[in-house]
Point group: D2
Chain length 327, copies 4
């Protein structure tokens, strides 16, 4: 099939590569000319602008936008909406807020355009492993574009079949899924990332305790000097916490058990915040997902004003001086 790709960062460019490997025909564009030229050398048709890209595709067209969520995506889609024809489809594969999808889809629908929101997981590994795709929007457009999604997804591979799914008919085993109407794709991706935050934090705390098992604060006879790299490796074999995140942790710890390369300032993307907001709108308690988010907030500060308030109170009622030393 034909697909237009707007945005050729690491994700967009690798999606194009994986599609071309599967025999699809890709027209591409990026504000920066370099990645389009590189992809042209691999067989893509590099276009100088959105107009050229739209003209390079036969109707009904499909254009995948893979840009940072927010203004960049919003702008590109608005421009595309003026160039495309009724029956064409815009795919937003970025990390868009799901309520923006609902709004945007309604607006495009008035122009006869269909819109699919696609949550895309896989990161730098997607080119080889395939991308896990969570898709929201018009079912007919989804079905028309299934060859694209099937090519991007990992497929069954050698992952064991899940019991009790014998009678189910679903693309889920292929690694792509139509989750519901517009917004549902990014909603499911948002929760995926929320869970990811929680799992990461669970590992992070666990390894922190393991490392501090040798703390000088503990009685000497109750300390352990543990090899975190080996522990993460042994857990990859038959333990309950077996997971891809553990694999990645084992690799990082094998490279450097002190993780000396890292300072510990941890960014958060919108999905973690939106997950908490979704939980609050529903009145669903989400302690772990929220704590994982707050840890990242805290990690980017030297000290919070909250901590100074605590110190001020302690001085006020007890005359306590602040801790002079760390730890």
């Amino acid at each position: 099939m034909q697909l237009g790709m707007v945005g050729l960062g690491r994700m967009g460019a690798n999606i194009v590569r994986r599609l071309m490997r599967a025999g699809h025909d890709c027209a591409v564009h990026d504000a920066n000319p370099a990645p389009g030229q590189a992809l042209a050398a691999e067989g893509a048709r590099d276009c100088s602008g959105l107009k050229a890209l739209v003209e390079a595709l036969a109707a009904p067209r499909a254009v995948w936008v893979m840009l940072p969520a927010g203004a960049a995506t919003e702008g590109a889609i608005a421009e595309l909406a003026g160039l495309l024809s009724p029956g064409d489809t815009i795919i937003d594969g970025g990390n868009t807020f799901w309520k923006d999808d609902i709004r945007r889809a309604a607006s495009l629908r008035e122009k006869g355009l269909t819109y699919l929101d696609v949550g895309t997981s896989g990161g730098v590994w997607g080119l080889e492993r395939g991308y896990c795709l969570m898709i929201g929007g018009d079912i007919t457009a989804f079905q028309r574009l299934e060859p694209i999604f099937a090519a991007l997804a990992p497929g069954r591979g050698d992952i064991p079949e899940t019991r009790h799914r014998e009678d189910r008919v679903s693309t889920a085993e292929q690694g792509y899924l139509h989750c519901g109407p517009n917004g549902a794709g990014h909603y499911v991706k948002m929760i995926h990332n929320g869970i990811e935050y929680g799992m990461m934090q669970a590992f992070a705390e666990g390894f922190d305790i393991l490392r501090n098992a040798n703390s000088g604060r503990l009685p000497a006879e109750q300390r352990f000097d543990l090899d975190l790299a080996d522990i993460s490796e042994v857990w990859r074999r038959g333990s309950v916490v077996t997971s891809w995140l553990l694999d990645l942790t084992a690799e990082a710890l094998a490279e450097d058990g002190d993780l000396g390369e890292f300072t510990g300032r941890v960014d958060d993307s919108g999905e973690g915040r939106w997950t908490v907001e979704a939980a609050i709108e529903q009145a669903t308690p989400a302690e772990v997902l929220t704590s994982a988010l707050y840890t990242r907030f805290r990690s980017r500060q030297d000290h919070t004003f909250a901590e100074k308030i605590l110190s001020a109170m302690r001085k006020g009622f007890g005359g306590h001086q602040e801790a002079k030393t760390k730890g």
Copy 2:
């Protein structure tokens, strides 16, 4: 090799089976005669008591105790200590508190006995998949018994090698690891379970939000009726949250998307509590692991007294009546 096994519950009996499949010679005992008789039919030597079990083994002996942590394990080990000879080894494969290991090992050392604490992960799947073994104690005893541990562990299997481990020499890739002196095995297992709690809770909250995405509390145009079984399945393919716990969740949701079989009262074992205590002793913040534990505490109550205190205060300052309905 020869091994004596005390305690033939599901874990103990399957460990014996896996050892016999690898050609080891097992003498077994359980207070209840049935499981010993069953294992005898499979080739084990069933012994009527600990004395008979000790006599059935040639020195230097190794006796694995697989009983509930606490009084049962303590009692069996005390009795064994009176029957065994210097140079023999007692293995505690249960979920013992690591400080009990340190105390117990010192006491057995005075009698010339060595003690290994072995954290064992794998649950009902261990017989087929192998057990992940985290081992603390005397390195010589560990090395002498490596054939036992190697037979129980999953081995390399088809799990991809971790990058940066090329030059490491470790049994971790085999699925068993000598973690350090006595207590270290159960300490590492304790943290494993702590992480497990956190990961479970991350998934649990995420699926809770997905399910409540259809809540009547939300604006009608912002609701989704999501298929949790398919979502858990698609995440098994190329997503960041790929894990064994996700596999199990996918299976449960495929069987019944409402999980109607379950009430939601969730037990906790000692490891989750000890993990938090270890964190506190070190002054390591462990928000997620602790929240995961508290969720289980809360799940076993209809209402906490804390909640009644809140209601009483709200009535006191605002004249607020309590919520009459749920949700």
Copy 3:
């Protein structure tokens, strides 16, 4: 001064009463005729509708809207906007979301109307104790209406002066404060309520632990049968946790130490949720305020789906049955 009051629930009616006691002249209206008639008997001018109420006031008018946040408030203000004249002021004394204030004030400004958002704390006690008022909006309108705010606020009373405030000029000591431009009043009130949630939960958890100090789960020699009413009372004298919320708790526990009147289903108002959202927008960690909110969410459910997910996983990996009994 003259003031119009729209909404004569407990809060609105008592505000009118406190104003009349201070000699102010109040025109009042409520959709339900009863409270207006009652207030008329106490000296207020009861009006049959908003038009009548506006006509009963001399320009520049001030109309205080004391209705549930959301549609009721929004509708009343829209109607008033069509009736009032340039130079008049609308006061929203309810629990409006601060971003709504910003939007609304801009819209009213175009019509020459000024708008003040007033966070009002004091609950059922405000009539006697006075109301703590947090005010946002045009400083001139605030100053014009200061006699109203001063009459409603508690005043200095016998509360000891705060050290280091000797050189400050502020109405804060009187119990009312111009906090900033529109939205600032409700923003400060929102955070007040967020803190209130956290403090309440701190007390709630503490008393829960005190009560459970007699739990049968504990070793018999480590149990205490504590008198919570007396403990809350003794803490009112010289302890660090001395507070009005403690006073209310002491009263409730003195009435019934089991709080048998309450089930423990605890509502939450918007402010707690908005506080968390404000924290997330700023990337400010707010663990305690958020946990306090989630506890209330959880209190209104019998079981969460999250808990069933946990049970399903535990069955999956360990064959664990759910807890049959509580506690």
Copy 4:
């Protein structure tokens, strides 16, 4: 009455002063001679050692130990136990772990000595305000020493009586309370401090959000530049969060709204940790009290290893670089 005081730090010395003001006769000792000499100038009998102190008192003696919890207290009580006579009483007024009280009381009982554990709240303000006393142990010894406790406690003062206590007979209104058998005094004090941590953290987070309301991360039209000193002051008047901790916060913010004197490294004493451990032993969820503790742990570190683990994972799956800048 006569009382011996061992340990003349700020708390011990001020307790002696308050007792002498009430006409009691105090023999005192401290390892450091200066505070004893100072108290001698105010009327106390300064003793050169514990033996001299014991000899300075008439039987039945009462000796109050006011030393750091742990080895110092343990050592002093052991030495006193060898010097005192049956019928004498040792009071531990420090922050001892309640299980140590139970053990210690049993040991002293064998020697005919009685032991009272007294949780003492009031900090640097106790000399003037009086101390809130939570007392565990033998009721007869408590009653014999009531004049001491009554002199130290704040008394009724002008604190309004709690409704529903009309028919109660209790010393709680005086500010001292016999809470139960040995350990109960320190147990109640422990929970008091746990609640204190939670309340402090609630205020700290709230003021942090108020301060960050002016964050450059927020849209310009949604920022507020709030005066925290005035806000804390206005809340002292009629709001729900009225409390002594708020009074102290208002004072600190009035002195310096930036709290520039403080770095934000916050110590924790044992009580916060023991509160969490008590909750876990009971299976009582205590989210807020625990989060408050963890915030302090985190405040004393530049970065946790947990945060580096998060960064390492993010690099692993997404190629994400760490945040370069703060906030």
